[in-house]
Structure formats: structure tokens, C-alpha cells
């Protein structure tokens, strides 16, 4: 099976050349198609940096990163945007819904970024499947935390991406909501045959994944 994500000797550092802060050092790993992987590790170990690099929103200092066999290190912003639009869905810890758009409009944003227009019914259908049929025209400020996160997941899944990157998706939710959120995410990931890479502090969630990658001090343990 082709690797959905492939990191080869990837390093990431910030700051001056004289005294750089090394966040990741020579990371090597890959994620296969349809594989669900969790990344765990202590705070500051570099977990989120891996997600940032895989999404193309951050640039590696060294090494090679391939998304569906396409090298993304060195690409320009427009090309990275295109790869992200077509292949990747991102779920953030803080949901990050657009505050003046309704639930439906937030999901439609993803479709329209991919130049799929007049797809309102599809967006509503997915939101209904996520139990939000009564919240379709509500603004984020009118939704609970759990509802907001479900909208965020719907936004990430609507384009049927090959890869979902989730950065502590249950970090701002209570345990009940966390559980139902992860059930939703796992169900739809498997259903749509998508790879899922998830950063989490929750061991119970990590254990539900196909594989766990442990990071410590910028290196895979």
C-alpha cells in the first residue's frame, strides 16, 4: 500500500543559526492509507509540529515530506494550498469555526475552497448525520463545545480527504463529549477509508488507534 504520509529525516528548528531551537531532529516515519495513528508525548516534545509539517502549514528545515507520494518540502504557498485542499482535512483543538458563518456555511467553506459549488444539500446531510440537523443555521456562538467540534469535523471530512490531521481534537471537551467525538471521527474515517493522524494526551484514545508514535525531545521513541 502506498504511504499517505512519509517523513524522511525531517528536522525542524526555529530562531537564529547560531543558537537554534531544535523542535524535531531527524524524524522518520510513514502512515499508510486508511491507517489510524496517534502521536503521543510530553508537552513540548514536537507532536503538534509534526501535524503542522504534514499539513504544509510549516516548512521543514531539513528532510523530505511526501503526501500521497508528492514531495511538499520546497513547494510554494499556492501549491501547498492546493495539496491541502485536495488531500487533507484538519481538526483543531479550539475548533476555529468562522464566527459569523452558520454551521452549514462553515462546512460549505471547505467545499467552495475546492471549487465545489452549490453543494448545500451535501453539507446539510453530513451535519445531520453528525446529529446537527437542528443546528444547521446556527452561528458558532449558539452552539455548545461538542456541537462546534462536530461542525469542525464535518468541515474537515466534507471533501472526503485522504488524510485527516487532528491536533488534540478533544482537548477542549468534557469526557462524555470526547468519547462521542472520537466515536464519530473513527467511524467516518473508517467509512471513507481515510488515514487519520491524531495528536492526543489521552491514552484511552491513543489505544483505539492502529499505531501509536511516541515523541520525546523531538525524536521518535
Amino acid at each position: 500500500m502506498n504511504a499517505a504520509i512519509q517523513f524522511n529525516n525531517v528536522s525542524l528548528s526555529y530562531g537564529s543559526k547560531v543558537d537554534p531551537v531544535e523542535v524535531l531532529k531527524g524524524i522518520n516515519f510513514s502512515v499508510s492509507s486508511e491507517e489510524i495513528v496517534s502521536i503521543i508525548g510530553p508537552s513540548g516534545s514536537g507532536k503538534t509540529s509534526i501535524i503542522m509539517l504534514a499539513s504544509g502549514l510549516e516548512t521543514a528545515t531539513e528532510g523530505s515530506i511526501k503526501i500521497n507520494s508528492q514531495e511538499i518540502v520546497g513547494l510554494k504557498e499556492n501549491n501547498l494550498s492546493e495539496i491541502r485542499r485536495k488531500n487533507i482535512g484538519i481538526v483543531f483543538q479550539s475548533f476555529y469555526l468562522i464566527p459569523n458563518l452558520t454551521a452549514t456555511e462553515n462546512v460549505l467553506l471547505s467545499l467552495e475552497a475546492n471549487q465545489k459549488y452549490n453543494q448545500e444539500e451535501e453539507a446539510k446531510k453530513l451535519l445531520s448525520e453528525f446529529g446537527l440537523s437542528h443546528r444547521l443555521d446556527h452561528l458558532p456562538s449558539e452552539l455548545s463545545g461538542g456541537e462546534q467540534q462536530r461542525v469542525a469535523i464535518a468541515r474537515a471530512l466534507i471533501n472526503k480527504p485522504k488524510i485527516i490531521l487532528a491536533d488534540e481534537p478533544t482537548g477542549n471537551l468534557d469526557s462524555a463529549n470526547s468519547q462521542s467525538m472520537m466515536d464519530l471521527l473513527f467511524e467516518y474515517t473508517k467509512k471513507s477509508k481515510t488515514s487519520l493522524v491524531m495528536v492526543t494526551h489521552d491514552n484511552s484514545i491513543a489505544e483505539r488507534c492502529d499505531r501509536i508514535i511516541e515523541i520525546k525531545d523531538g525524536q521518535i521513541v
Partner: protein, 843 residues
């Protein structure tokens, strides 16, 4: 990259922009309101100018009074010539002269009298009150006159009363409201019309050179007017002193006045737009910073920076289109308002015109300003990184001044300046204005940064109020730059215009009257001058009387070159060489006109003409000592040599001549006198007695002229000051919007202060200190620029003496300070008592 012609993408941009605007229009009120006000100002001035120019063009024949006009000066056309002209169409003869009109018990009034035949007017009509009274002036039974409202008020006469014109009794037939051909005296002074038959019957004559025969033709066959104009010109070619005018030229002078004034108003309006632009820039930047997260999310989903920039830019364009349409439609009806403000005696009826070109003119200027001020804000979007979503750390972005943007902005500013320059005759002053304006903006921005740097050096304070004020001023989101720039420019404009206006008004109300004579006699027959002088001295032996001989001459050539080829209409001294000039002569130089170049001539030498010129006119016209000037004096071309240049100050309204020749040569010429009188005896009394004794003598009361000029100037400066105040109002809106943008930041700060025990009076004191520090700084520089600017205008352009008026200055500064501070307090009212709970809950 957004492909410009991808219709789906463009539709998406349209959808997002409209949706975003409909849900956040309240945050964009500053952009909409300031754009609307400044576009409205522009639209008002453009519409009135367009309407006036259309009126002049459409009614050019009415304004001229015919298809062609001939002015022959004091001599009428020979009957033979008139008969020849009559073969081409209808000929109307009119005589214009200056005379005195008087009534019983009231002082006589200097009046422009027009004697017209029954063909007048060839185009249009005389509007009189009561209607139909204009016909009565052609009555042969009793001499009748139409007077204007000004004469009616001064002489306190009504329809049916008698007045005296050069000793002859005329009955007032009615009031002349307007005549189709522009008569300046009808607008600004005293004007009357009689029938030519009455003029001929009574052999009225003013006795000299202030008399002008005018002939107007209406062609029988108007279709080939060009050919017929050439025929007319060939008929009168025998005498090159006869002036011809065509319909296009009739409103030229008025057109130039309109152009200069409207150009000035346009510049002030665009200044308002530029200040509005500062508000646009500030509001947009705040808008972007408030949407930091949303923009980052859109980027994480896959939208490019270009797409997002275009979306917000489109929103601004939607606002521009809406405000410009509304502003244009309101402005289009300004000619109707102008009709109410313009004197009825001008005979002008302005019509509103709606045109696409007119709208596009306003829109284009608005677009340029919007582009200039939105580019740095919108380009800051590229600095927002989606990766910040993972860290939840968002840094506020600031204006993007990359090299590419600076070059683009420079090009846009050049386009804006060039666009205005191309639309006016005053190109140099327009460019100068823009350069001065942008330099002033930079100065004020520099001033604000200087203040911040200066205050950063001071750390020790005894008072909390000053400590808080200090922190607010040196903070990153300080009010100082925006307040200094937007209020500073408005204040500088208001101060400069007020200083110039005040100096002019003082000159007219104080300086000139102190130097000017009480009466100015025009056109006194040389035979009665000695008797007149004795008569006046018998009334007041202490009277200061001065008489100068005068003859009429017209400028033909300079060093053999016809003067029309050397001097353009726009030359500021063109008046010296156009039309009939009055020249005088003297044996000795006048002490009031010192010679600044050349030598005075020796007395004697009656065979050669020597000329002394007004130095300023000479330099403007490119003359040098020993140049040869050819004048036509009473039908004869005479060439003389320039011997010297004199400094002439016309301000004192005493007798001054641009051209003086040697007395020995002039002795042979027929002449008349002009004179001035200054006396402690009432000038009304003297005038009444003089006119009674010498009916043909005309005199102007100088204080009357000055009050007329003052009246006109007052109206102009009210309009100009009003517009400056609008500029300040826009500046205040911009400042208020900046304050509102900072509300969250300031409320948070004030809450912390409240928790720490700082009381409300201290916060108020802090705000006051903050305002005073910024205001005093900008006042210092605004005053400096205004003093320098007004000094240059008053001393160099107007050639007056500049004076500083402390009272006016303090009045303007204190009023502006009070209004600004009150508005800032009102804008800040929500932060005076912030609630603790929402902050604790992070809401």
C-alpha cells in the same frame, strides 16, 4: 492564485463579500460615512461647475446678446457701416456709460447706465418687476428708466417716482431683475436701463472715456454663422480698435472664475477624501486584525492570501459604489441650491445634469483614494500565518509597506495628482497643493513619532494620571499618530484659510479705507475741472483734492510684434494690454510711485513719446528699458520708448496709472480728468451738491465699493471655511473610529486599573493629559505650517502685508480642542466603568 476571469471564483468572492458585509457592516461605518461625506463634497463642486459651464455654453448667444458683438469705444460706428451690417440681419445698438443717478434728499449713486434700442435684447429677455415694465423705457411721451434693486434701496424710490440722470428727470418704470447678457454692475453694483431714444433726445453724455458703444447682430441666416462672422470682421477691419466678440467668448471670464474657485473647492474636497483614506486604512487594519483567526482558518482550508485580499477589497469597492452613487445623486441637485444662492441679476438658471461621465469622474477619484489607503492594510493579510492556529498565538499585523507596495502607492498618488492637474488651468498651484499636502501628512506623522520617542525617555512620574497617559501614548496602539495626522491636517487647512481670509478682510476694512480717498471722480471734462475744483474747495477749504489728466489708448505692439502674439490671456498682467487703457502724463515722477529701474525723462521734447510702466506689469509682460511700445491714442498709432519702471501700489485706490507718458508729448492730446477727494465733510453731502451743480460729473463712493467687495468676499470665505470645517469633521470621525477600535484594549486596561484601586477621576485626568499632550504637539506644528503657508499666500500672491490675529487663532484652536475632546470622551464612554465579570469569564 485567483484567476481574474474565473467566473465561479468571482461569484464566490461576490458571495463571501456580500455575506461578510451584511453581517459586519457596523464595523465598516467609518469607511462608509467618511467616503460618503468626501464624495458628496466632490460631487457638489463638480455638479455646480458642470452646470455653470453647460449654462454658459448653451446660452452663449444670450450671454453675448447676439450672434456677434462689436465694441467701438467712445465713437459710434458711421451710419454707412451700420447700414452695411443691417444687410446681414438685425442690428441692436446699446450705449454703456457711467453716470450718477439721484433722487430728492438722497445722495447720488454711481451707476452703470445702459441705453438700448427697441431691438434689445436680440436673444432672451429683460426680466423686470412688475412684469412688462421693461417695455415702458421705449416710451416717447415721458423718459422712463428701469433701475435695479440696489439703486432702489440706496435712493429709497419706488415705481412711479422720479430720479435725476445727468440733470434730466426720469420716471422709474420698474426694477430690472436680470438681463440676458451679463452685466457685472447689475450683479455687484448699481445698474439702470433707459431707451436709446431718451439718450439721444436729451443728448446725454458722461463727457468722455467711460462710454462704450456696443453693436450686436442677429443674423438673418444663422446656419452659416462662421462665414457671416468673417464678413462682419471684414466690414469693420478699417479700424483695428474695434473689438469683436463671439458667443463662445462671452462667458470666458465667468468661466475662468468658476474654474479657479471650483478647482480650489475640489482640492479641499480631495483633502477630505485623503483624510477619509486614513480612516479607511485604520479601520481596514483593525478589521483584518479582528478577523485574524478567520483568515488563518480560511488559509488552513486552502484559500490563498490573494483570494482573501480580493474578497475584502471587493467589500470595500461595494461600499465605494454604494456611497458614490448616493453622493453623486445628492450632489447632482446642487445646481438647484446654487440657483438660490447666486444673484438673480446674473440671469443664470442652472440645471441639474445626470451623466455617466460625471458619476465616473467621482467614482474614479474615490477608487484611487480607496486603493491608496487599502493596499497596505489588505496586503497585511499575507502576514497572517495559518500555522498560528496550532499555537493559538496571533500577533496583530501592521500596515504592509513592502517595496512593491511603495512603488504601487507612488504610482497611484501620481495618477491622482495628474488627474486633478489635467482638469484645471491652475496646474502649477494644483501640483504645489498636492505636494504640500502629502509633505504635511508626513510631517505630522513624524511629529507623532517624535512625541512618542520624546516621552519614552521620561520614566519618573509623580501622578498616576500622567503615568497612565504616558503609557497610552507610547503604547503600540497609541492614538497619537492617527490623531496628529487627521486632525493636524484639518486644523492646518482651517488655520491657513482663516489667516488668509482675515488678512484680506482687514485690508479691505481697515488698511485700504485708511489710505483710500472718499470719492473717486471719473471722466471730468477738462473745461469744467477748474470750476469743479473751486466749487469743492468752497464747500471744504481743507479738502485733499487730486486731479490727473487722462486719455484713452490701446496697446498695439511691443518692439513691432502685435501684443496678442506675446501675451496670453492667463498672464496676470494681461489686463494692462487688453482693450482700452487710460494713460496719464506727468512732468515729474510721483513720490508714491518710486522708480525701481531706469531714469525719469528730462522735461520738454514734445516730439518723442517716453513711457513709464508699472514695474510688476512690465516684468510679467517681458518688457525691458528702451523697448518700443506702440499705442493707439485717439485713432493714431504712436510709438514710444520705455524709460523707466515704477512701483505702483493700487491698494490705496488713489490715482495710479500703469502707463504714464511725458507731459510735453501729451500736451497735444485731447484729454479729460480723473480725481480723488478726501474730506472731513460728509462725502454724501459733497456728492449731492457737486452732482446738482455739475450734472455730468460722475463719482464713485469708495466705501460703497469696499462694502460690496467685502460682501462678496464674506460669502466666498464662508463657503471655504465651511468646507474646511467638513474636513475637520472627517478627521474627527477618523479619530473616533480609532478610539472605538481600541475600546477592548482600553476597557481591559481600565478594568485592571479599577481592580488595582485607580479611581474614575484619575482615569479621566489621564485621558485629559493624553489628549492635551497630543493636541499641543500637533497644534504647534499645525500653527507653524499655517503661518508659513498663509504668509506666502498673503505676501507673495496677494501682495499684502501679513498680520497675525491672536484672538482668531485662539478661538479656532480652543473650539477645535473642545469639540474633539468631547467626541473622544463620548466614544470612550463604554470604558469608563467596565464590568469585571465578563473579563473574568474571558468574554
Amino acid at each position: 492564485m485567483v484567476k481574474l476571469f474565473d467566473t465561479q471564483q468571482l461569484r464566490l468572492i461576490n458571495k463571501y463579500a456580500i455575506r461578510d458585509f451584511s453581517r459586519s457592516y457596523k464595523k465598516l461605518w467609518v469607511i462608509a460615512s467618511t467616503l460618503f461625506i468626501s464624495l458628496l463634497l466632490l460631487s457638489l463642486t463638480f455638479s455646480v461647475k458642470e452646470a455653470l459651464n453647460n449654462e454658459i455654453t448653451a446660452n452663449s448667444k444670450e450671454l453675448l446678446g447676439g450672434d456677434i458683438q462689436l465694441s467701438t469705444g467712445i465713437d459710434p460706428l458711421p451710419d454707412l457701416i451700420v447700414d452695411e451690417l443691417k444687410t446681414l440681419g438685425v442690428v441692436s445698438t446699446a450705449i454703456e456709460l457711467a453716470t450718477m443717478v439721484s433722487s430728492i434728499d438722497m445722495a447720488p449713486v454711481f451707476t452703470e447706465l445702459r441705453a438700448v434700442d427697441d431691438h434689445y435684447p436680440l436673444y432672451g429677455e429683460i426680466v423686470s418687476s412688475p412684469p412688462g415694465s421693461a417695455e415702458k423705457i421705449f416710451s416717447t411721451t415721458k423718459p422712463m428708466v428701469l433701475i435695479n434693486e440696489s439703486i432702489q434701496n440706496l435712493l429709497k424710490v419706488k415705481v412711479g417716482d422720479d430720479v435725476l440722470i445727468m440733470g434730466k428727470t426720469f420716471e422709474v418704470a420698474g426694477l430690472v431683475v436680470s438681463v440676458p447678457d451679463i452685466a457685472e454692475s447689475a450683479v455687484f453694483g448699481e445698474f439702470a436701463i433707459i431707451g436709446k431714444a431718451s439718450y439721444d433726445k436729451f443728448e446725454l453724455s458722461s463727457g468722455g472715456s467711460f462710454l462704450d458703444y456696443e453693436y450686436r447682430l442677429k443674423f438673418s441666416n444663422p446656419s452659416n454663422a462662421n462665414e457671416q462672422n468673417k464678413i462682419v470682421e471684414s466690414i469693420v477691419a478699417y479700424d483695428d480698435t474695434i473689438e469683436t466678440r463671439l458667443p463662445g467668448e462671452s462667458g470666458q471670464r465667468l468661466g475662468r472664475v468658476i474654474d479657479n474657485f471650483s478647482n480650489f473647492l475640489n482640492l479641499v474636497s480631495v483633502s477630505a477624501m485623503i483624510i477619509a483614506g486614513i480612516g479607511i486604512s485604520n479601520t481596514l487594519l483593525s478589521f483584518v486584525n479582528q478577523r485574524n483567526t478567520s483568515i488563518a482558518v480560511k488559509k488552513s482550508i486552502g484559500f490563498s492570501s490573494n483570494f482573501i485580499q480580493l474578497m475584502y477589497f471587493y467589500e470595500i469597492i461595494l461600499i465605494l459604489i454604494t456611497t458614490s452613487i448616493i453622493a453623486y445623486l445628492f450632489g447632482v441637485f446642487s445646481p438647484l441650491l446654487a440657483n438660490e444662492l447666486l444673484p438673480k441679476s446674473l440671469g443664470i438658471d442652472l440645471q441639474p445634469t445626470v451623466s455617466l461621465i460625471g458619476y465616473l469622474n467621482i467614482f474614479f477619484i474615490g477608487l484611487l483614494v480607496v486603493l491608496i489607503f487599502s493596499i497596505p492594510s489588505l496586503y497585511s493579510i499575507s502576514e497572517i500565518k495559518a500555522v498560528a492556529l496550532f499555537r493559538n498565538t496571533f500577533q496583530p499585523v501592521s500596515l504592509n509597506f513592502s517595496l512593491k507596495n511603495i512603488v504601487l502607492l507612488f504610482i497611484l498618488v501620481v495618477i491622482l495628482t495628474t488627474y486633478f492637474v489635467l482638469q484645471t488651468e491652475q496646474k502649477f498651484y494644483t501640483v504645489l497643493y498636492f505636494v504640500a499636502f502629502f509633505i504635511t501628512m508626513l510631517i505630522f506623522y513624524g511629529v507623532s513619532r517624535l512625541l512618542i520617542s520624546f516621552l519614552k525617555k521620561f520614566h519618573k512620574f509623580s501622578s498616576n494620571g500622567y503615568r497612565i497617559a504616558h503609557r497610552n501614548i507610547i503604547a503600540k496602539k497609541s492614538l497619537a499618530p492617527i490623531m496628529t495626522v487627521s486632525l493636524g491636517i484639518g486644523l492646518t487647512l482651517l488655520l491657513t484659510l482663516s489667516f488668509v481670509a482675515n488678512n484680506l478682510k482687514q485690508e479691505i476694512s481697515d488698511t485700504i479705507p485708511s489710505m483710500a480717498p472718499d470719492l473717486f471722480f471719473v471722466s471730468i471734462d477738462r473745461d469744467i475741472q477748474p470750476d469743479l475744483e473751486s466749487f469743492i474747495k468752497s464747500i471744504d477749504p481743507e479738502v485733499m483734492l487730486e486731479f490727473s489728466p487722462m486719455a484713452s489708448a490701446s496697446f498695439i505692439s511691443l518692439n513691432g510684434t502685435p501684443i496678442e502674439e506675446l501675451v496670453s490671456e492667463n498672464n496676470r498682467s494681461a489686463w494692462v494690454v487688453r482693450g482700452d487703457r487710460r494713460i496719464s502724463w506727468s512732468e515729474k515722477p510721483n513720490p508714491d510711485n518710486p522708480i525701481i529701474e531706469g531714469e525719469w525723462w528730462e522735461p520738454g521734447n514734445e516730439n518723442e513719446m517716453f513711457i513709464s510702466m508699472d514695474s510688476r506689469a512690465a516684468y510679467d509682460l517681458g518688457m525691458s528699458i528702451n523697448d518700443k511700445i506702440t499705442l493707439n491714442i485717439l485713432g493714431r498709432d504712436v510709438t514710444g520708448t520705455i524709460k523707466n519702471f515704477r512701483e505702483v501700489d493700487y491698494r490705496d485706490i488713489s490715482i495710479n496709472f500703469a502707463i504714464i507718458i511725458n507731459k510735453a508729448f501729451a500736451n497735444k492730446l485731447p484729454y479729460e480728468y480723473i480725481g480723488t477727494l478726501k474730506s472731513d465733510v460728509s462725502s454724501n453731502d459733497i456728492l449731492a451738491r457737486v452732482v446738482e451743480q455739475f450734472p455730468n460729473v460722475s463719482a464713485i463712493k469708495v466705501d460703497r465699493i469696499l462694502s460690496q467687495v467685502s460682501g462678496v468676499l464674506n460669502k466666498i470665505f464662508i463657503a471655504v471655511t465651511g468646507i474646511s470645517l467638513i474636513v475637520i469633521a472627517i478627521g474627527l470621525i477618523v479619530i473616533v473610529s480609532a478610539v472605538l477600535v481600541q475600546t477592548t484594549f482600553r476597557r481591559y486596561n481600565n478594568l485592571i486599573y479599577k481592580i488595582l484601586g485607580v479611581d474614575f477621576p484619575t482615569i479621566l485626568r489621564a485621558m485629559t493629559i493624553e489628549f492635551v499632550l497630543i493636541y499641543l504637539t500637533l497644534v504647534f506644528f499645525a500653527l507653524s505650517v499655517a503661518i508659513a503657508g498663509s504668509y506666502l499666500i498673503v505676501e507673495n500672491t496677494l501682495q499684502l502685508t501679513w498680520r497675525f490675529d491672536l484672538g482668531l487663532t485662539l478661538w479656532i484652536l480652543l473650539t477645535t480642542a473642545l469639540v474633539s475632546f468631547v467626541m473622544i470622551l463620548i466614544a470612550n464612554k463604554s470604558i469608563f466603568s467596565p464590568k469585571v465579570y465578563p473579563l473574568i469569564r474571558n468574554e
